[in-house]
Symmetry: C2
Subunit: 450 residues, 2 copies
């Protein structure tokens, strides 16, 4: 471990918490999904602790159509990420703002433009978490009756990202002269029209937003299937992933860094940040008790539906909740998470109830329950053993769970020299240690000068 390698930390803000019953926790506000002040508080809290970024997931609709369960959960209705992050951009100064947007039901011009605008609003702190959409319920909000197949989604995603990055290269960094006397606003030689014509998209450009102080938004990815890893290795600058065991995490880490190197990239320029959901007590017993308190708040209908969603299968309510998980057909859902859950079920011989309880806290992500010291140890081990470059903190309830992590774990990591005491800069790239993306024209000029 070199002296400069430090843990990157994101705060994954899931409205009132990542635990499926988090909204029922006494410390969580039940109306967080309509309260911008809740998110202002969370963003300021994360920024005061010098975290790298806040992170928002997204869903293009109410995924759960099972009224029996959905009316008992809080997470289907809330702010749209780009508008919410834009609101947070003007009341924060250093923290990164990473939002999720799907390539399946958007147009690249809109995504390039909105994230570029957020990047300018925030002075260079935006990140785009590129995902493909797997939910049939999302497809039905966008003129389709069924979802597009997994491989096609990724083919579209690859081209989508090419277009977005092309549009972000419309203007060279010094294109805008703004000389009032001569009346020259920009140098026409520093405007580059994309003229993209591909299989999925025809996008001419130019983009009507200037580049930001960090060049363009950081490209984040979350897919962990073979297609997802391919795209991530070639293009992602940060990866949000789900690994429960150290071995899984190390294998994924090595695989992605290799893919990045094979794609001609510096492996340090893709930061791997698995999710982790911490439940912290003054003693391990107290932490366990806190966790069980949350678990006890899960209604069986909610647990069953959560399992169906994570597995990408239909209604499980016909099966014995205290019996084993039945054999399930292959689905069109997210491949990797599904496999992780299945492996865990078979390995540990879990009943359906035990299985849904095992993912309720963090939806298949790493769940840690213990003292702040124990959690810091676990994070350090995974970081040092190259299972992660950092972590996306998934507090079980918010703001309480994030407060606990920031008050308990962050000072320990800091004392060990594993986490920053001050921001490295004002852009997300500076803080994550990612390079400034040179404009392709600048790049060519530098080559010509050699």
């Amino acid at each position: 471990m070199t002296k400069t390698r430090q843990i990157k930390l994101g705060a994954f803000l899931m409205t009132d918490g990542h635990h499926i019953a988090g909204w029922r926790h006494p410390r969580a506000p039940a109306n967080a999904n309509v309260r911008v002040d809740h998110f202002l508080r969370l963003a300021r809290l994360a920024e005061a602790a010098k975290l790298d970024a806040i992170f928002l997931s997204d869903s293009l609709g109410v995924r759960d159509t099972n009224l029996e369960s959905v009316h008992r959960t809080s997470r289907n209705v809330g702010f749209e990420p780009l508008t919410l992050l834009s609101a947070l951009s003007v009341v924060t100064h250093n923290i990164g703002l990473i939002g999720t947007a799907s390539t399946s039901f958007n147009e690249p011009f809109h995504i390039a433009r909105k994230f570029a605008s957020l990047d300018l609003l925030s002075g260079g702190r935006a990140g785009w978490n590129l995902v493909t959409s797997s939910g049939e319920e999302e497809a039905r909000n966008f003129n389709l009756d069924r979802h597009i197949p997994h491989a096609d989604r990724y083919d579209r995603a690859r081209e989508f990202l090419d277009v977005v990055k092309g549009l972000w290269n419309t203007w060279e960094d010094d294109a805008f002269i703004r000389d009032k006397v001569s009346g020259t606003f920009f140098d026409p030689e520093k405007l580059h029209v994309l003229n993209h014509r591909g299989r999925h998209f025809k996008v001419k450009g130019p983009l009507n937003v200037a580049r930001s102080p960090q060049g363009h938004p950081v490209v984040v990815q979350a897919g962990a299937s073979e297609d997802g890893r391919d795209l991530a290795g070639a293009s992602a600058e940060a990866i949000f992933c789900a690994h429960r065991t150290l071995n899984e995490a190390r294998a994924f880490y090595a695989d992605i860094k290799t893919r990045a190197a094979n794609a001609g990239r510096n492996p340090d320029h893709v930061k791997i940040m698995p999710g982790v959901s911490p439940v912290i007590g003054r003693t391990e017993a107290e932490a366990r008790e806190k966790f069980e308190e949350l678990q006890s708040l899960i209604h069986p209908a909610v647990g069953l539906q959560l399992l169906s969603t994570v597995m990408g299968v239909g209604d499980l309510s016909g099966y014995d909740i205290d019996g084993p998980l039945p054999d399930l057909p292959e689905t069109n859902g997210p491949k990797s998470r599904q496999q992780l859950v299945l492996d865990a079920a078979r390995r540990d011989k879990l009943t359906i109830r035990q299985l849904y309880l095992s993912i309720a806290g963090a939806r298949g992500h790493w769940q840690v329950v213990g003292t702040a010291e124990q959690i810091a140890d676990a994070l350090e081990e995974r970081f040092v053993k190259e299972g992660a470059d950092g972590f996306n903190i998934m507090a079980p309830h918010l703001p309480g769970g994030l407060e606990d992590f920031i008050e308990g774990v962050v000072p320990i990591l800091r004392k060990r020299g594993l986490f920053r005491t001050e921001y490295a800069g004002t852009t997300l790239r500076e803080n994550l240690g990612l390079p400034f993306p040179e404009h392709h024209a600048t790049h060519r000029q530098a080559e010509a000068a050699e």
Copy 2:
């Protein structure tokens, strides 16, 4: 005129000003298109003066492909309206936030969701200015080689609006119970799934954003063609329009109010707010001088291109700039504004140069040049004679031109009892005097109870 009828005022924020050469004015910051603090200042200025709303137009691309002119103007590159308004929502408290979004190259689910999110972020201050896109250059950013014809655009717009309003009626206002003890987050009977299947769209819903304190965003429109007026009479709650003479304004006003009444609506519930661009001096001569100073900053290439854009025609550079406007073929552009400009050219026998100078200040909108008293008189006349319910102020340069209007004209209107001294409420609907849109289910219950 009843005692309660007062002028509504919007501040139309066109980056550094509405005058095409506004960015070259000494009082305008040349880098406004990348400065969020410029917009923060403008929003606070408008709010301190108790204006009803700020208003942002939109363009889905750089419309002007003529490099010779475009590199001499500032208005092709800037923030995206929804992200910018979201940023402004958390640093303002009363002022409305109206953003433009096209129905031609968007999906209704995205628009319904993002504006609903802005509406919640702002505590019920959002407005959506529904437009159709007429620029070929915009079409080319969205997989098309040419633009869709005018009539088809409006057919799509009508259905688009139906879907958006349907999605905004997903949740009844009291749907969210949030009872931690029983674990009931919402009342499933108060969730309404849209299931829209129409000619242009299949959108199932439900929307994943709750209703706001004003129910849903105010629906604003700008189209003034026959198709546009039809849609506006049936659905718009505020109309932003362009009329240079009192007679034009009165005819339009009467027409829209009649259409609204014919559609079974209260004509008071559609507020007609034409644009007006004021240049204010201590004397009329000083105002003229200020205006001429701005006009002198227009490069001929910019003037010609502006004229081409407003007229929806191609390159005019082949014609004698000091000769008359040639006969032009009918185009696919915005019908009404084109006709207004043509009428003015023929009526006043203007040369091409005179014509572009005549629209440079306000792009075909009403240009007033005079003392604050003269401008207040002109606004009062148009308001009292039912040519307008209010005005969208298009300052020639920003922030200076808006400061001049607020310091000069607003106090006079206020002294005459024509403009508010305090906000009527915290929502845009309360301030504009628009009714709360009852949820259709609530509506049906009220009918059943009668």
